[in-house]
Amino acid sequence: GKDKEVSTTGKESKEEGSDGKTLRIVTDANYAPFEFLEGDKIVGFDVDFIKAVAKEAGYDVKLESVGWDPIFVEIESKRADVAISAITVNDERRQTYDFSVPYFLSTNKILVPEKSDIKSGNELKGKVIAVQTGTTGQEAVEKLIGKNHKDIKKFENNNLAIQELLQGGAAAVVADNTVVEEYVKNNPDQKLKVVEDSKSFNEEFYGLMFPKGSELKSEFDKAVNAIYENGKYAEIYKEWFGTDPDIETLKAQQ
């Protein structure tokens, strides 16, 4: 998607072409391949997705990478209109924010050393698991073995969690399939393998996050469904992940 990105960090940049209002959208460009910096350009699946959705809804986009914690302050204080940052939806968070219909089905996979005999999520019990704080990976593992369980180590980002695994501090990392697969692809010399287990883990979804009571939510829900329908979503998905999306599951959640 290198040709599509337009945004820069810190400073805003506007998508020309439509005549709608410009929305301030915040992200933390530190989570490849959803949103990350390529040089000083914010790129990733989320970036292309939000642009498509906003266009559909008739808005211009001013995308800004503000850092992880700041996202929530920006939204809660209504200084930003929307946040997109591979944000996992859960009930506790719904107490404070509104979320769009799910726009991404996150499949969690287990990253283990090649020699490991872990074959499923249930075998993780009793082992130390490293995750990134606030991700679907954490969510999934906590549902499996308990919230704030002592065997869960929460790291600021997946890099560190994986590093912990490499240095023997954890038996496995649980994270988005895209993240772990990308990692293994990028680092073939590390002797890691990906374990799939669709049974042990619940399905986790990403949503767009709005201030509580935002009127944009319904407009964006509609727009999301619209690009599910018109094939735009599948196009972007395929471009980033090389496969077709499971739109049925996403829609079933609504």
């Binding site: 933390d28 530190n30 490849a32 850092g67 700041p70 990028n186 010399d189």
Partner: protein
């Protein structure tokens, strides 16, 4: 484990940009912090305990809480309150300055109190007022003694500026993190940043040493 020099080279222009912002942030913060620190330091040595109390509290709070929290408070609370929008660089300068001011206030207080009482008495006995004595006799001497601790504070501040990456101020560490998350690498960005910080602090130490020596022989 292979060390990916190529990604460091790829990110070199950004690291350079980040380094320049780091320097800019640090220099402006130390200047503002020194000015504020002087005022607060003078406030703390007021004889009247009631008047000195707010300054005392300022120093206690800013030295007693993590800088990270101060950065958040200023970024999301103080700056938007005045300008209506967030600005990471402005918030960074303000947070670092206010934090440094608390430490510098202590340096000033110690510097002023380290000047022999005889100097004040010599000056007062000539009929100079308290203010004149401070300005013409005590402060010029105190400043000289404060160069080494101020230099240390500057080094601390330079390294602390790396915390501004949490509010996405595009300084050195911010770009290091960006590099790490694009390529899923830990060592390359952190070691590269560490070397740049070390380089900056070494240059700074060198300059400060020269300055100190020059002031001594003066």
């Amino acid at each position: 484990m292979s060390f990916r020099w190529d990604i460091i080279f790829e990110y070199a222009p950004f690291l350079l940009k980040g380094t320049l912002l780091t320097i800019g942030l640090s220099v402006s913060s130390i200047l503002i912090g020194t000015f504020l620190g002087l005022l607060i330091g003078l406030g703390k040595i007021i004889r009247n305990k009631v008047l000195a109390f707010p300054f005392y509290c300022y120093v206690t709070v800013f030295r007693g809480t993590p800088l990270l929290v101060q950065i958040f408070l200023i970024h999301f609370g103080v700056v938007p309150f005045f300008t209506g929008e967030t600005n990471a660089v402005a918030a960074g300068v303000i947070a670092l300055s206010l934090n440094a001011a608390a430490y510098i206030a202590e340096i000033f207080r110690a510097g002023i109190q380290s000047i022999d009482k005889g100097q004040t008495e010599g000056s007062r006995s000539l009929g100079m007022t308290h203010a004149q004595t401070m300005i013409h006799v005590v402060l010029p001497q105190a400043f000289k003694r404060m160069i080494p601790p101020l230099g240390n504070e500057f080094i601390v501040l330079l390294k602390d500026s790396s915390l501004l990456c949490v509010i996405a101020a595009p300084e050195l560490m911010y770009w290091g993190k960006a590099m790490g998350s694009q390529y899923f690498k830990v060592w390359e960005p952190y070691l590269a940043c560490a070397f740049i910080y070390l380089f900056l602090t070494l240059i700074l130490s060198f300059v400060l040493n020269r300055l100190e020596r020059r002031l001594k022989t003066e």
